[in-house]
């Protein structure tokens, strides 16, 4: 008991110390993982998120004079630690939004944010049905979900084959991380499989994905025409190495956008040549925003992580996520008062009314990095565009034009999914008046 009371007292002390030091500051809680099996991918992502905030502070002095602060909390991709981090950071004054960086944590927080009134931004991951803003008031899967991603890969494959009808009788295997993250695309792929008559083989890989011998033995037996890779962290590079060992052609492999960054292919080197993956954004240090980050943050010695990692695929994604958060605050300030600290509810309105057209993106220094985004009360995604990029052994090159997910297929799925969610939870759809709140 003695030990426990000492621990409790000390914990209370640290918690109290954190509660002071509050001024006009917009606080960004940063959930991240820099350790564990997903660290190689989690680290550049977390670095990008931090550097963008530092750059906005250094270059613009914050948002209309409101300084941005942040605190990182290590989750290790574990749901229970993620929940602890959320509980720790949510009560901080001026808390803006959460980016959980993990599908499992997103699921747990989805149940918690409505009571705490803090928005969740899950760019390119999370719950696919949460695109429906009328049912999921606090979730924002901006720029795409696993359903849009899977649809775009299938569109690309169909185009390569010369039309949807050419897919009939083909075999497509989904090698996926055996978790909600990996299973999310399955309903859409099944839908497409029944529509076009291709055979879908599901090959699960136990998390974290270092042991894939059995999965690739199955691939070797089935000889699928295409392999879709739904992996994250060490699973991706392992899969590519196994594909090389199995002799499966890498140019027939298509990864999701979480399986298409530098850490996934670098170790495999030439063995990954020809491997394709979805791309939500560009990479490289040419965009103005990266130049600004280098100039205002890294050149002053305040950068997070190595300088040559600035502009890598996942780093850029982290920057985009943070840009959306910052723009949501800016948008909210336009309505609720410039130069004020926005509450979670006000930021949610901002996220729901983002209007980032090409001109605005150019101003922000994101020219060419992503497509324009405009969200609304019912559409919490804003944009479903993505491209395919291919690894040439040393860098990623775009190998397709932009695709947009087929709303004809996804809309009804989102609607039924959201209806089921609401029915399970005995909840009501938001009424139109709620959109203005």
């Amino acid at each position: 008991m003695k030990l426990r009371s000492i621990l409790l007292a000390a914990l209370l002390g640290t918690a109290a110390a954190g509660a002071f030091a509050q001024a006009k500051e917009q606080f960004f809680p940063l959930l991240s993982y820099r350790t564990g099996p997903y660290a190689p991918n989690g680290t550049p992502w977390a670095n990008g998120k931090q550097d963008y905030l530092k750059m906005i502070n250094a270059r613009d002095g914050g948002i209309n004079g409101v300084k941005l602060t942040f605190e990182e909390c290590e989750t290790g991709y574990a749901t229970d630690r993620g929940v602890e981090c959320y509980e720790r950071l949510k009560s901080h004054a001026g808390v803006t939004l959460f980016d959980p960086q993990a599908t499992g944590i997103t699921f747990a927080l989805t149940e918690k944010v409505p009571t705490d009134k803090i928005p969740l931004i899950t760019l390119g991951y999370g719950l696919s049905v949460s695109q429906d803003g009328n049912a999921f008031k606090w979730n924002f899967p901006i720029m795409g979900s696993y359903w849009t991603g899977a649809d775009i890969i299938m569109q690309h494959i169909a185009k390569k084959e010369g039309g949807w009808d050419k897919l009939k009788g083909k075999k497509i295997a989904l090698v996926y991380h055996d978790s909600p993250f990996g299973k999310e695309p399955i309903p859409l792929l099944q839908e497409r499989a029944t529509m076009h008559g291709f055979k879908l083989d599901l090959i699960p890989v136990t998390a974290p994905g270092v042991e894939q011998k059995a999965a690739w033995l199955q691939v070797r037996q089935m000889r699928p025409d295409y392999v879709l890779l739904w992996g994250w962290g060490v699973m991706n590079s392992t899969a590519l190495k196994e594909a090389q060992a199995t002799g499966y052609p890498r140019d027939k492999m298509y990864g999701v956008w979480w399986a298409g960054a530098e850490p996934d292919v670098k170790d495999v080197g030439d063995g990954a040549k020809g491997y394709n993956a979805l791309a939500l954004n560009t990479s490289g240090q040419q965009p103005k925003v990266m130049q600004d980050i280098l100039k205002y943050v890294h050149d002053k010695g305040q950068g997070t992580g190595p300088k040559d990692e600035v502009g890598s695929v996942l780093y850029t994604r982290g920057v985009i996520i943070q840009m959306l958060g910052v723009e949501a605050v800016r948008r909210a300030q336009e309505r609720f008062g410039k130069g004020k600290v926005m509450t979670g509810e006000q930021v949610r309105w901002g996220l729901e009314n983002l209007a980032l057209d090409q001109k605005r993106l150019d101003q922000l220094g994101f020219a060419g990095v992503l497509r324009p985004i405009s969200t609304s009360c019912s559409d919490h995604m804003g944009s479903t565009w993505a491209r395919i990029h291919t690894w040439d052994g040393s860098k990623w090159n775009f190998s397709s034009d932009w695709y947009q997910a087929d709303e004809q297929i996804i809309k009804p799925m989102v609607k039924t999914g959201a209806e089921k969610y609401l029915a399970d939870k005995k909840m009501q759809r938001r009424d139109p008046a709620d959109c203005q709140s």
């Binding site: 000390a10 914990l11 290590e74 009560s91 747990a108």
Partner: protein, 358 residues
């Protein structure tokens, strides 16, 4: 010294058989319960409830269950995470499939599902023991991982395998606020801890301990090994199952099978070993050590480093946390292999003799 039993005479068997034979202990426990039920809820912050106290209470309950099996009956189990998962998914299915199912019966039924599962996977214990049994129970872990990932019925046909609950209430009172959740878990913990304590003091507990100490000798004096071992599995997995249901319903809210992975089984085993095998109090110490210490280190280290004018990265804190935590485990086990509970009782013994130690 005040902690002394001089002058406390027991004149009946009843008085002699109390859980806390010394008056001071009874007062201390009463004070502790009053503190836990009334003072803490008035003082603690929201973060403290939701991130520290609630996980601590639930993990203490789970460790209690593991302690019945591993500490009292000597059946080493690495399948505790699976029993928690069965409790959680069992309770979930009762909760969502039966209209207007009340929360408390759903959780208890989840515990009963875990009981059945525990007995099933306890059957190998009749033939194998020690490390062999540990490996056999590992099968329970992998089986439950497989079952909840693959069989869609258990997850109510959720496409991603993740399930969630909301709108928890007991007798019409919502279990939403941090205090309500805390009281809810605390009530479960107190009732089950008392039941477990009485069981291990009673005939059944003595049978478990006889089996643990030497199963052949126990069989010779008339203890049925099958009955003793399977009841230990049943009681233990019921408690662990209830803890699993609480972990899922009250703490996480939404969960996937990975929340009950083999890593959780290991953590539970560490809790009873560090807390003290074969002691009810050990479960509390162990849970506090395993649950609270990493979180404490995670917040204390940056503050400590900042106080000397340096800064430490998130990854650095995380690595340091693992290192210090590991070192502390080794240190504790070297200094006191019987766990924190033994340290506590040694301290008590010394106090009773103070100031004339012998």
């Amino acid at each position: 010294m005040i902690y002394r039993e001089n002058g406390q005479f027991k004149t009946s068997y009843r008085a002699d058989q109390q859980i806390f034979a010394i008056v001071q202990d009874r007062w201390a426990i009463a004070a502790l319960l009053a503190l836990a039920f009334f003072v803490v809820p008035a003082l603690a912050s929201d973060y403290f409830f939701r991130a520290i106290l609630i996980p601590f209470l639930i993990m203490a309950l789970a460790a209690l269950g593991v302690n019945v099996l591993v500490g009292y009956c000597g059946q080493i189990s690495l399948g505790s995470g699976a029993f928690m998962a069965v409790g959680a998914y069992g309770a979930y299915n009762f909760f969502v499939r039966i209209p207007n199912m009340p929360l408390v019966p759903a959780i208890l039924l989840g515990g009963l599902c875990a009981t059945a599962f525990g007995i099933l996977f306890g059957l190998p214990s009749l033939r194998v023991k020690g490390l062999y049994l540990a490996v056999a129970t590992l099968a329970a872990q992998f089986f439950s991982d497989w079952m909840f990932l693959r069989i869609k019925w258990f997850t109510n046909d959720s496409s991603s395998g993740s399930v969630s609950v909301n709108n928890l209430q007991v007798f019409g009172l919502p279990v939403e606020s941090a205090q309500a959740k805390y009281w809810f878990c605390l009530a479960f913990l107190c009732v089950l801890a008392l039941a477990a304590k009485n069981m291990v003091r009673g005939a059944i507990g003595r049978e478990w301990m006889a089996i643990r100490d030497m199963d052949v000798a126990a069989a010779v004096i008339g203890i049925r090994p099958m009955y003793a071992k399977l009841t230990a599995f049943a009681v233990s997995s019921f408690i662990i199952g209830v803890a699993g249901a609480l972990w899922a319903f009250v703490y996480l809210g939404a969960w996937e099978p990975a929340a009950f992975s083999v890593e959780l089984s290991f953590r539970l085993l560490f809790m009873v070993i560090i807390g003290g095998l074969g002691s009810i109090m050990g479960a509390f110490f162990g849970a506090a050590f395993i649950v609270v210490l990493p979180i404490f280190l995670n917040q204390f280290l940056p503050a400590l480093v900042a106080s000397v004018g340096l800064s430490i990265s998130t990854a650095g804190v995380s690595h340091a946390e693992s290192m210090i935590f590991g070192a502390l485990i080794v240190w504790f086990l070297v200094v006191e292999p019987h766990g924190l509970a033994r340290l506590w009782s040694t301290g008590k013994q010394k106090l009773r003799l103070w100031p004339f130690p012998h």
